[in-house]
Amino acid sequence: MKLRLMYFAWLRERIGAPREDFETQAETVAALVEELRAREERYALAFSDMAAIRVALDQELASFDAPLRGVREVAFFPPMTGG
């Protein structure tokens, strides 16, 4: 399946792009992260501390064990600092 990946704040800076389309067979967010980490050093660095990362699936907060089936947009970002 083809996913639209989005990165925000320091994740965007470390990866060097705000978004990209990515073809994957990963069944969960965790599996997708593993695949990305293995891709290039900048991804391994960006995803080195998962406690500092949140994920949203189709713009709803989700957990790392959430399934990707039917999902189109996956966003990774640090804990939010609104207000």
């Binding site: 925000f8 709803e60 804990p79 939010m80 600092t81």
Partner: protein, 147 residues
Amino acid sequence: MAIRVQQQAFDYGAECNAFAQIVQDAGAIVTFAGIVRDEGATLSEMEIEHYPGMTERALAAIEAEARDRWQLSDTLIIHRHGLLAPGETIMMVATAARHRADAFAAAEFLMDYLKSRAPFWKKETTTSGSTGWVAARDADESALKRW
């Protein structure tokens, strides 16, 4: 109810007055503004990044939750993004209710959730040119547990 996510500055006083004009059946209005804080006069600017689409959805969900929990006549949320200078108004919330307890509680609830569940991120640039992302505070996350 209104939710506005915008780059341009807004007039906090004018927004408060306009909100007070349009609310109906209310006996109490609570308003809150978040300001770019310049601790020790070392901040040059603050940049607020957000996730267009998800931001509006998250704010709408938080607002709907507040309406479920309290008897509210009206609400207003305005949050800016982009470059802001020290002293500028970042965001505001306003709540109107028949009685003040609901208006106060709902305003605090909106702020607590908005801080940790709305996709905004702040980056600070100091007067010496160094930059850094503002880290989320544990206190902000634990503030959600009281609701």
